[in-house]
């Protein structure tokens, strides 16, 4: 640790979360700061801009109560957090303080929370199947170890239920590997917090998880730090302890709102819709912490969840996320209104790394073909729905009628599943074959003849 420098009582301006202080000694960029208020309470902050004689500090807890007589101390060090394998099973706040009434984390190491970029040369390709127990993900948008696959949702949709279900059911199959979940809640309401804590305890999922809860009324600046704390923990568990870590972050939209709020307070030139111009780079610094590394056992897989404002997929948040992540799972209001859970719209969903994690070595030989066929036939069936609305069902050919029925069947059997229903990939594929047999064999153009013979059981 660097030597602690002297205290300043030279605050010039206070503005939003920012405090401007006159200094005599040089201060490092991103150095940590404590501010002691006149009532003796302490607030923490970080240096945003350091010039000769004038430093801009961002206060994590907000600036309320700070006056110009408060004293400012520079700590000579950047933000670090304690990490330890005992963090498993713990519920922590957005600034990594215990919320479960347990003891403070006893550090095995202190880590810089910003994290350095992984050298692209050091990365290993994502390669193994992670089973979430959700048919639409496992079967059609397979999640692969080291991947980042976001869920694009909208207000009013059950994405948090889905997040919990995945946190509970996710596993790597076969081998004797350690699996852990880092669950990062960003800007959630108190009600949601209660629910998360209850669910984690009810289902016993907590024992393999570390939970970070940043609440809606916590300061915006803390919300920017929370995912970094969670990801630093995940990196420790994955690359130091060799675990397979799944990081679930909900809701990234709240995170981006915090970025915008802080950016505006700094009087930065805004980019699209008022979000900062560096939002792409900032999000990349979170998402790109997923991956596998050559020569290391562990991996980090991410499922960030975001609510698209106004269900608009072109909004900067889903848009920029989509450019960094490897695909997306899109939830649909239409399916939700039809009472289908989880309301995954497979047509607009995609897992870019799916082919790395499926096939005879990972799942089953028919996986790719079946998934392609489901996609194609469901798309055709959905198109026909539009046509039927105009010309009526009677004018369709027999084959088209089968496709139309198939689309309904698909939604009912594959998409719909219970909130506690954990389907293995074999179950998912078997259900797929059951509904595919409702089509004529010559409609199964995406499946090889060999596989049709092997799996299709016509009565």
């Amino acid at each position: 640790m660097a030597t602690v420098s002297k205290e300043y009582k030279t605050i010039e301006n206070i503005q939003g979360p920012l405090v401007f202080v006159k200094t005599e000694e040089p201060v490092g960029y991103k150095e940590l700061v404590t501010v002691r208020l006149s009532d003796g309470s302490i607030k923490n902050g970080e240096v945003l801009d350091s010039a000769n004689g004038m430093v801009v500090i961002q206060i994590f807890e907000g600036t309320s109560g700070i006056d110009r007589s408060a004293s400012v101390k520079f700590l000579g060090d950047t933000m670090k957090m304690p990490v330890s394998k005992d963090m498993l099973g713990r519920v922590l706040s957005g600034s990594a303080k215990p919320l479960d009434g347990g003891a403070e984390i006893v550090p095995e190491d202190m880590r810089d929370i910003a994290g350095a970029a992984i050298n692209p040369w050091a990365r290993a390709s994502p390669n193994a199947f992670i089973q979430t127990g959700i048919s639409t993900i496992d079967g059609m948008n397979t999640l692969v170890r080291g991947q980042k696959l976001p869920i694009f949702s909208a207000s009013g949709l059950p994405h948090n239920d889905l997040a919990l279900q995945i946190a509970r059911q996710a596993k790597v199959r076969g081998e004797n590997e350690q699996f852990a979940v880092v669950f990062i809640a960003l800007g959630i309401t108190n009600e949601e917090k209660q629910k998360f804590m209850r669910e984690f305890e009810r289902t016993g999922a907590l024992k393999n998880a570390v939970v970070f809860l940043n609440l809606a009324d916590d300061p915006a600046v803390e919300r920017i730090a929370t995912p970094r704390l969670g990801l630093t923990t995940a990196e420790y568990m994955a690359f130091d302890l060799g675990m397979q870590v799944l990081v679930i972050m909900t809701d990234i939209t709240n995170y981006c709102e915090a970025l915008r709020q802080v950016g505006a307070a700094r009087e930065e030139v805004p980019g699209r819709r008022g979000y900062p111009g560096y939002m792409y780079t900032d999000l990349a610094q979170l998402y790109e912490r997923a991956g596998r590394i050559k020569g290391k056992e562990g991996s980090i897989t991410q499922i960030p969840i975001l609510t698209m404002p106004g269900s608009d997929i072109t909004h900067p948040i889903p848009d920029l996320s989509g450019y960094i992540t490897e695909g997306q799972i899109v939830l649909s209001m239409d399916l939700h209104r039809n009472g289908i859970y989880p309301p995954v719209n497979v047509s607009s969903s995609l897992s870019r790394l799916m082919s790395n994690g499926i096939g005879p070595d990972h799942t089953r030989d028919d996986h790719k073909n079946v998934s392609d066929q489901l996609y194609a036939s469901y798309a055709e069936g959905k198109d026909l729905r539009g046509l039927v609305a105009i010309v009526g069902k009677d004018s369709l050919s027999a084959k088209d009628r089968k496709l139309l029925d198939f689309a309904d069947l698909f939604e009912d059997r594959i998409v719909r599943q219970g909130i506690d229903e954990d389907r293995s990939i074999e179950t998912t594929l078997d259900i797929a074959w059951e509904i595919l047999k409702e089509l004529d064999v010559d409609q199964l153009t995406r499946i090889s003849k060999k596989l049709i013979q092997k799996y299709l059981k016509k009565e």
């Binding site: 960029y29 350091s50 010039a51 990365r123 912490r289 960094i324 082919s355 010309v391």
Partner: protein, 577 residues
Amino acid sequence: MSTEGVIYRVAGPVVTAVGISPRMYDVVHVGNERLMGEVIKIVGDKSIIQVYEDTTGVKPGEPVTNTGLPLAVELGPGLLTSVYDGIQRPLPILMEMCNGPFIGRGKTAPGISRETKWDFKPAVAVGDEVSAGSVVGTVQEGPMVHKIMLPPNAKKGKVEEIKEGSFTVEEPIVKVDGVEYPMMQKWPVRQPRPVAEKYNPDVPLVTGLRVLDTMFPLAKGGAAAIPGAFGTGKTVTQQSLAKYSDADIVVYIGCGERGNEMTEVLTEFPELKDPRTGDSLMKRTVLIANTSNMPVAAREASVYTGMTIAEYFRDMGYNVALMADSTSRWAEAMREISSRLEEMPGEEGYPAYLSGRLAEFYERACRGKSLCGDDGSISVIGAVSPPGGDLSEPVTQNTLRIVRVFWALDTKLRERRHFPTINWLTSYTMYDAQLSDWFKANVAEDFPDLKVWAMKVLQKEAELQEVVQMVGSDSLPDEQKIILEVAKMIREIYLQQNAYDEVDCYCPLKRQYTMLKLIKKYSDLADKALKSGVAVDKIAYIPARERFQQAKQDPQIDAELAAVEKDMEEQISKLEA
């Protein structure tokens, strides 16, 4: 001129220094850790520096050193097979230096190895007259002959001394009028390397992708844009291009893209067999990987680094394919830096000089005679990632004003698992007229006509589909139903191509011609059969079509295609009987 100064202010990647009197774009070293940066603005005695690395912990008062030189790349033997970051730091060596998978700060390593010795064979003799760009000798670098040239700024003169044997890149190998030259040269990245003469682009870049070569060809020395919202298959298309196009050298710039995607490139390229040499494709490739989470200033520099390397190989008389994925990420880096500089923003926050920078970059693509007298080219394939797929956004619009080929990727096609997802109705090429002579001479006299025919069928299909949407396909007359069937064949057999299939991934031009001709034949036979009263359904469901579809993935594809033709004739004539 003072070269030592101190830091005055640190705000993210933008550092202000006093006490140095640099020129614009000089490279400086910042702070105790000597982080690399570039001067991007001078205000009075203050120099504004964009730093290529994270500045956490850097303090005012720390030293700043001006190197007095602009950002330059090192060019010479050793470039091929390299993997660099945006400022030509070799990533494998960085990994050793940082002792781990994460990139530490203040680490630099030379772009090309100083230790490796190369066998230099002279191509000139003492007393020969040489000038800028003259080839003075060669080095065998993997499968490529690396020509050693005098730098473009060398003076004309007589060779006084020329060596032969094994040398490092820094050892002098030739002496011209008293000036010694080593094999390595440095060139500032923001300055285009000169050519003797620029040609008209009238030779196509053959890619082996049917939809590109036949429908929307790109000329060597031209520039194409691939726009695509995320998830449209942009990267896969670009990677197929890198793998199979007939360029001698591939420069692939991963600019602000995903780490895992870069890994895919980094692991796949060495494993890929070069269709021409049977060797690894990596041996004629230079990769630049500056992923989205790596420093934004290095991302801004990465496209120039890649372009300068491409120009160096063009100067040797090679055809270079330069892929930039994605130029939108590059533009965003400009925006981010511009906003940190508090410059007046233009459209959507991008700096007002966006269009100028884009034009300068694409203008560096060309086919021409290099200073050494050989013909070389750089074809640029730039990916743009328009936010929300909105093509009216500034980066796409400014790009489209410059490039002459547009390969429109389409999410709808992706949803239908139609790959490559290039939309045949919205894509275009403006090289058709210039290239048709080449196609006539090298593929077949009627190849351009066949293409026009196929495009017409597809266009007609789009019109008919609108009718079908309203009234259903049953109400169409038979001739139109056949058009729909032919169009379906063009789409499913011809345009769709499986990048992961060993046979289908690369389709030579001759075979493209055979396949398209075969579809035309089906169309003609079907028309004839229809006139003799055969029902549409019967024509549509002949087994030859299925065989045609399967033939694409058959190792004996050419024999299969011949068999399909025979089947087709027999089956349709049987229907007529």
